[in-house]
Amino acid sequence: MPTLLEVKGLRKYFEVRTGGALSRKKGLVKAVDGVDFSLREGQTLSIVGESGCGKTTLCRVLLVLENPTGGTVLFKEVDAFSLKGKDLKRYRASVQPVFQDPYASLSPRLRVGAIINEPLEECGAFSKDARPVRIAAALKQVGLSENDVDRYPHEFSGGQRQRIALARALSTRPSLMILDEPVSALDVSVRANVMNLLKDLQAQYGMAYLLIAHDLATVRHMSHLIGVMYLGKMVERAPSEEFFSQPLHPYGQSLLVAAASEGYEDSAIQGEVPSPLNPPPGCCFHPRCPRAMAVCSQEAPSPKYVGADHMVACHLY
């Protein structure tokens, strides 16, 4: 299967003013600091990491909402940031997002039909007569009725709203869906339904997913590839089965333990994510790493391959 999305050395830095309102001191937040991966059609890459690791910034860059500070994004072998006009519209129709908060994702003053219609209208590929058909079909695909076109978002529950957001993303028949923690804000009982729906849709339409999550339990059954991010860097990336059977990076291992155990065990990683304005020297994980060595505080590890597809950035290997 051909490569759909190829990301190489992607970096996105934000300049921030540190100090008071009048100070000139500038700091740099390295939200995404060198991320590589490639995704094929119909595959799911799940990116896991704590808050602040850069997952949402990654999404925004891939959606061409921000310009990268460095690196390339190739979609169907074309640089996404070189696209303009009609090509950019086609890209936007092919790469659709679903965001985390179902209560903020739907414009409160628009009817469901208008919400789903928006990307259809903007991409210009669907005529005025074709759009209502697509809208009704999209609603049916997510398990809602086509009579819901008339209603307002506040008439729906959280799970239903997320389905509406999903219908909106599906309406343009995208090849890639970027799902930023799609179920985190939903009740646990509803999560399984939505994840199953996503899985069915993928089986039916062969879409690729970039699935962001902060815990592994949600994504286990859906992922083909797992990527672990920490403070803007990808510290481990492997096919799903290999990762779950043999996680290499200490951070990845702790995430797996946390997912497997129901309680708060002692083997969990202590401490909190450091501020991205001031990352630790060397390997950014070393202050919290149970297996840190002397070299970890001096030199940042470069990504190495253990096995054909298993990438890890750690001095242990």
Binding site: L65, Q96, S107, L110, R131, Y152
Partner: protein, 305 residues
Amino acid sequence: MQRWRSILEKVMHTPRFGRASLRRVSSMIKRRPSYILVPMFVLVAFVFVGIFASLLAPHSPTQIDLSAKYQPPVWGSGGDWDHLLGTDALGRDVLSRMIYGARVTLIFALSSVAISGTVGATLGLLAGYYGSWVGTIIMRLADIVLSLPMILIAMSVVMVIGQSLFTMILVVSLLSWAGSARIARAETLSLKEREFVALARAAGVPGLKILWRHILPNLVNTLVVVATLSMAGIILVESTLSFLGVGIPAPDPAWGTMVSDGRQALDSAWWVSVFPGICIGAVVIALSLVGDWLRDRLDPRLRQV
């Protein structure tokens, strides 16, 4: 085919002031607390009188009749039903002048609020959404305008250009837009960070369309409240300017002018000042009460997305 047509119709109709809004307004009114009835009635009466002034007034407001100078209201000695609320120094019927004054005040207030509200909201929207130097310039301009003394400037302008209703509307509008601009900008700043705006941008919707379709409809609630409350202030400004003699030019009736005219006879012919004064007070208080009620009903809902 018929079914798709109707879905299409519904989809294309992005509602801001459509049937849905009317339904919400009427349900809001049905669920009103009882104390709001009186101020709402006052406002409805104000608008009604303003619109139908020529049908309601028993006399012409500018007709001078020196034989009926300072006639007291109907219940006083010497009063009669011809001049229900008495006459002023030139024998003009107080009631008729009040009725026509309502019309002048209504036109003035609605125009000023409409112009300043539209200008302010637009500038605030643009400042909030696009930010950077455009936003900074607009906000500094707003700060300057807010610090200007409206009455003094109105007086100066009138002395240069001359008195007229149009002049007054112009001056007051140009000096009142800053309040709604600030509020619009604040709301826009918070709205533009919401996910539905990011989704619209990810879909490729251009900036102005996002402002019109996503941000402006969510501002309307707050802007309505601001408009109602600022109308109270604007009516007071008009009354003050007319009182000072730089407002509506004589002999056209205006409540402020009437209050001023009656000053020299306050101890004997009190009705010339008091009745228009009561009108000013009633309308301003009613607007404030209704504005507060609207804010309580509309704004929390806005948060409840």
